[in-house]
Symmetry: C2
Subunit: 496 residues, 2 copies
């Protein structure tokens, strides 16, 4: 692929310039249609050191409206971002609908570097390659046009460019030790790049561009960009089809079969609450020390007691080490991106706990039932969400998901109580009553969600919450157990 790469023939300069001008005009004219069709475009520009990635981007954007594009360089992650999953900076940098993002080095550079430096194992590398493939597919299926370019120069060309930079005192600093090391290890890098492209080219094709002549490279990049954009505009936003990966699922009961009668005495409740909260407080210290990230998800019927439950879990935690994230309807800038984007942004750092009060599962509940996304979208989401949660657990996170469950009578009693108690009235809205009418539809959706997304790595727990106190003790027990296990695993892992 790279070894026997055939360079472009030299071309007549004026012909080249004319073509570039024409392509630029076409790209310019596409800005508005893209905005209308809400098409987001991600152009990933990878390649050798000194291949001219920056210069290419400079030329590509030179006539574009700044409202229309962004340039991102997420591969160089500051220390703080090392505390997030590997894909975090890239997932954060995806474009908004109707706009273009040029990514100056991305997941390829990040992974190949780490592999060459032996900062990750072969096994971890393969895992991340799989994550990359999933990430790219999710973008494509979510209507993103992803264009992947690799700027290629041979070893000789790289030598010339690096020497030129080094010999000029004003540009010497641009050549890093990494660059020189890459040049020395050119063949090893070439193999690594080739292998990476080989393993990540099925869903979204790689385009290797001859980067030895800047103008030709620009023309080639523009051609690809214009053609693919034209095609996407003609075809409209792609909507991926549902698919089923074979995730290790845990069999879940139907909601209707859940016994909601369990209760707890006040005395036992007090005793257990104290014991479990004290233990959770200790575990929070360990979690922080071992830098284990924790994601706790709450979903459930309106008035099921999510809020009070969350407060009992949060109470023993050090406020500097956790966040409760209430998830409301997405804001415009969130709606304008792939639906998981706003959750990527809210992930906890390593050693921190994030409690989500409602989650990404809105996709397969409210968004499904209210028609906020297409049928294909929510049907695809089960697998996408499983993939997302697998990324989290592979990163080392503990992921726990609760469905806080009550029956319809209990809900009615609580709604009525809220309506009749002045201090609680704000907690009950017309929307709650409307949602209540859709109980049967929601029940179908929730059952399907539980069936398809309760994985061994991120299981669902149905929490019987007709007795709120019983429910609180249940969630606390589950969390304590999961954190204890995580700390033990960490300990074993450390001992080797």
């Amino acid at each position: 692929m790279l070894k026997d790469f055939e360079k472009n023939k030299p071309e007549e300069k004026s012909v080249l310039s004319a073509e570039i001008k024409e392509l630029r005009a076409k790209l310019m004219a596409m800005q508005e249609p893209l905005r209308e069709k809400k098409l987001p475009i991600l152009v990933l520009i990878e390649g050798w050191s000194a291949a001219g990635k920056g210069s290419l981007i400079k030329e590509l954007i030179s006539e574009l409206d700044p409202r229309f594009y962004h340039v991102e360089s997420p591969a160089v992650v500051p220390e703080s971002e090392a505390r997030y999953p590997f894909l975090y900076p890239f997932a954060n940098a995806i474009p908004e609908n109707g706009s273009l993002t040029f990514m100056d080095s991305g997941w390829m550079e990040s992974l190949v570097r780490k592999l060459m430096h032996r900062e990750i194992t072969e096994k971890e590398y393969r895992r991340r390659v799989r994550q990359v493939n999933e990430f790219e597919r999710q973008l494509r299926d979510g209507g993103y046009l992803v264009l992947k370019l690799f700027l290629h120069i041979d070893q000789e060309e790289q030598k010339e460019r690096l020497s030129a930079l080094l010999s000029n005192p004003e540009t010497t600093w641009r050549v890093t030790e990494e660059d020189i090391w890459q040049h020395k290890e050119y063949k090893h890098f070439r193999n690594a790049y080739e292998e990476f492209m080989d393993k990540t080219g099925d869903t979204i094709h790689w385009h290797v561009l001859d980067a030895s002549r800047r103008k030709t490279t620009l023309r080639d990049a523009l051609r690809l960009l214009v053609r693919q954009t034209e095609k996407a505009l003609a075809e409209g936003r792609y909507v991926g089809s549902p698919f089923d990966e074979d995730f290790p699922l845990i069999k879940m009961p139907k909601l209707a079969d859940v016994d909601l009668t369990p209760t707890i005495s006040d005395e036992d409740y007090k005793k257990e609450l104290k014991r479990l909260q004290d233990r959770l407080s200790e575990l929070h210290n360990l979690i922080y020390l071992h830098r284990i990230p924790v994601v706790i998800c709450y979903e459930g019927w309106d008035a099921a007691g999510k809020g009070g439950n969350i407060r009992r879990v949060a109470y023993p935690l050090d406020p500097r080490g956790f966040d409760v994230m209430p998830i409301a309807s997405p804001e415009p800038h969130e709606l304008n991106r792939q639906y998981l984007w706003r959750f990527w942004k809210r992930l906890p750092r390593t050693g921190h706990i994030c409690i989500f009060d409602r989650t990404w599962y809105g996709r397969v509940m409210v968004e499904r039932l209210e028609g906020f996304c297409t049928e294909k979208d929510w049907k695809r989401a089960y697998n996408e969400i499983n993939e997302f949660e697998r990324v989290l657990t592979e990163w080392g996170a503990v992921v726990i998901k609760f469905w806080i469950h009550i029956d319809q009578d209990t809900q009615l009693a609580r709604f009525t109580d809220r309506q009749n108690t002045p201090e609680k009235q704000w907690k009950i809205t017309d929307e709650d009553w409307r949602n209540r009418e859709k109980w049967p539809q929601y029940e179908v959706a929730v059952n399907e969600m539980l069936e398809k997304t309760s994985t061994e790595f991120a299981p669902w727990y149905i929490i019987e919450s007709n007795d709120k106190k019983y429910a609180r003790i249940r969630t606390l027990k589950i969390i304590v157990k999961a954190l204890e296990k995580a700390c033990e695993n960490h300990f074993e892992h450390t001992l080797g």
Copy 2:
């Protein structure tokens, strides 16, 4: 203040508990009214190491709805945030309307630590104290309730607490070298804390709480929070009055007196454009090397040629080192915070260039004219903006502001051209025509803005743009000159 601080007398535990319970219930009941009145509350909790800041926050939030509060610990800034102005993490962490933010250590801890470690000079410290006072006043004037607490324990009490933590293997790690150092230097720290409170207590009062008995501290904090919130709810959101600080202003001509006839020949334009862009490219390297941040602001009439002008400035820049920030109407989460918040968030890192396509000056133009803020708000904004820009320049930023100017006939010609050219039609909207009708009102507002905010440290430049090419050469020249000066100053500064 701290030296002769009188401790609380021990109180009957059951009485204390009853009062806490009552206060908590009051706070709970305030959540909804706060949301309705859109009141944001910032509770800054400062104090000694081991005084119990975290525990206090834990108790304060224990019964609150998570949608209602946030806990932030911005004083511990990761490396990457050291590349922003000192106030950056705090300005980023201010609460949304209708919600509470508890800040676990803030600007006090950050500044006192840096002073004690001699990481900043006395002069820089005084500057930052002034910035803090301005920042707090801007929050208050923008309708924020700011409550500043200092948790006080004496040296003996601190010793006991640190010893207790150190003697328990599970908590040893919680005591840092900094904590031990503070304990050794207790008296120096006490003086520094006192001095800081003394210098920052005029606008917003400091409350020193006896932190030697946790329950009493909690009660005292709750009392303050409940009382001040009650008061704010009764009085409604505060709107600060306009004021005039004596900034070093540059006299600006009235727009009507600006000669718009200057033009440039195509030949000169090409020559100058090439020369200036080449120079700007060199300067961008230096800026990056010296870590000088650059903020370039564009304002101007619709169709004045801002976009094309920005593109010519951006073209020679390395795309990894600059951003163009198009500023549109604020999104809901932006509208729900002090108006400068969304600009704080978009500041460039040191060594980077940020070009704002429209800016914070919307406050005194569109927001003024369309009634999006009160008269007091926009009248106060002149000084607030001068303060904001002074913070930027004191941080080391180059701030350049352009008013891209044309006359009404030129605008009409360009509007008509856009209307009649299919590829340009998207650039012209009904709003543009409506704004055009308000030209006289805008002219008054712009003149006032230029008069009141063209400071020596962040001057306005009126750019004659009836001839767009002339305008581009003008802005490039101004930018090149300003960056050359900044690099020289940096050089002199480095030489001492």
